[in-house]
């Protein structure tokens, strides 16, 4: 879902008063942030920080076109994800690790949990459709355990073209499944949350003119 953040009340942040800024769906990013930080609240704070940072850049003229604001927000939020991953070494990503990852559902909002459960259902269906089993293993080890392409091709005896084909099909199929369920767009709660956070952060950081 796209979050439409009404910016009419912040003329100083925009060159064209009355312009609206589209903040795109970040549900997947939010879920991963929650998983890595172990806190849904912290994930929301990080997204909020990304929005505020982007608005500050926009205000400072470092973002030339407000239409690029959502891209900048996403980039900043993704950077938060990467930084937290670096910090949080306990986030088990090694293929041979048996450590349980942080259970993001413990602190997730019910709507977020529901959304993630739907992704899980689609991921399950995707895996069930993939044959042979070796290709399923490839997907899990690549996406979830984050093993490298070279390592996987070597261990599973695959050519690079076969690897790319499996990834390509899986990616497109998962997209199809998401679209069919209407999950390429975020839910309404995400819109409300984003707008609320935006207003909150803006007032906190004094971006609104007095």
């Amino acid at each position: 879902m796209e979050a439409v953040a009404g910016m009419e009340a912040t003329p100083s942040t925009l060159k064209s008063p009355g312009q609206q800024v589209i903040l795109r769906n970040m549900a997947g990013l939010r879920a991963q942030l929650a998983r890595i930080t172990g806190s849904s609240e912290l994930a929301a704070d990080l997204l909020q920080d990304a929005v505020v940072t982007a608005l500050q850049k926009l205000n400072a003229g470092e973002i030339s076109d407000a239409a690029h604001l959502d891209g900048y927000v996403y980039r900043v939020a993704l950077n938060h994800l990467r930084n937290h991953r670096r910090k949080n070494r306990s986030y088990a990503i090694d293929a041979r690790s048996v450590a349980e990852p942080t259970d993001a559902t413990e602190t997730a909002l019910p709507t977020e949990s529901l959304e993630a459960d739907q992704w899980a259902q689609l991921a399950k269906r995707l895996l069930q459709e993939v044959h042979p089993v070796r290709d399923r293993e490839l997907l899990v080890r690549f996406y979830l355990r984050e093993e490298s392409k070279e390592e996987l091709c070597h261990e599973l005896g695959l050519t690079e073209s076969h690897f790319n084909r499996v990834i390509y099909r899986a990616r497109h199929r998962f997209r199809e499944l998401l679209e069919r369920r209407g999950l390429t767009k975020s839910d309404f709660v995400s819109i409300v949350a984003m707008v609320t956070l935006l207003g909150h952060s803006v007032s906190l950081h004094g971006i609104y003119p007095a």
Partner: protein, 225 residues
Amino acid sequence: MASTQPEAEDLVPRYLAGQLTPAESEAFERALSERAELRDQTEQALKLKEGLARLRERGELDALLRAPARPRWLPYAAAAAVAMISLATLAWLYLPRSASSLLALSPQQLASGERPPPVVASYVLARMRGTAPVTELGRAGVVELRVLPSMLSSAVSYRAQIRTGDGTGRGRVVGEVDAGRAAADGYVTLYLDAAQLPPGDYEVSLSPSAAGPDAQADRFPLRLR
């Protein structure tokens, strides 16, 4: 830098896994902030990662990564299927054809191809006083049977049957046909595919269609050699 082209299938997951070089990551992020479709791809990859992580937490992932176990009943089902196919083949080869395909109103109706089979013999069956004689037939092919009903009426439709014969009229029906009305010469003409019947005694009967099963029928004993 080929590996940082957004079109590369594995680019997004590699970026998310921290597998790109700093320069590649920088290029990716620059492209990310400019290209909405790349952000969509990134979101989808993140959703897939989260979905897989959920499956792992629920303990469902291992089962999905195992080859589906062959059901226990599968060997039995396969054996049963083979047995049924064998029986069906044997039945097709050795048992008489269905009732409707043994007895017909024309040779064409007994044909397996486009051309009607040749009629190898013709017999007239008519009731006579005393014990009915047994008509002996060869099994070389299609035989014409011209049956003269004892109750001759142009208004009556007949039903013809051939059954295994034990002299009681209660043998197993192996062929039957709605014979219609008698022709102008008074005969009801039938065609029997004798080659499809094993040697033995049989009985051809002709009775009015409208009559019940206990109605008096004309019976003609046959013996196939």
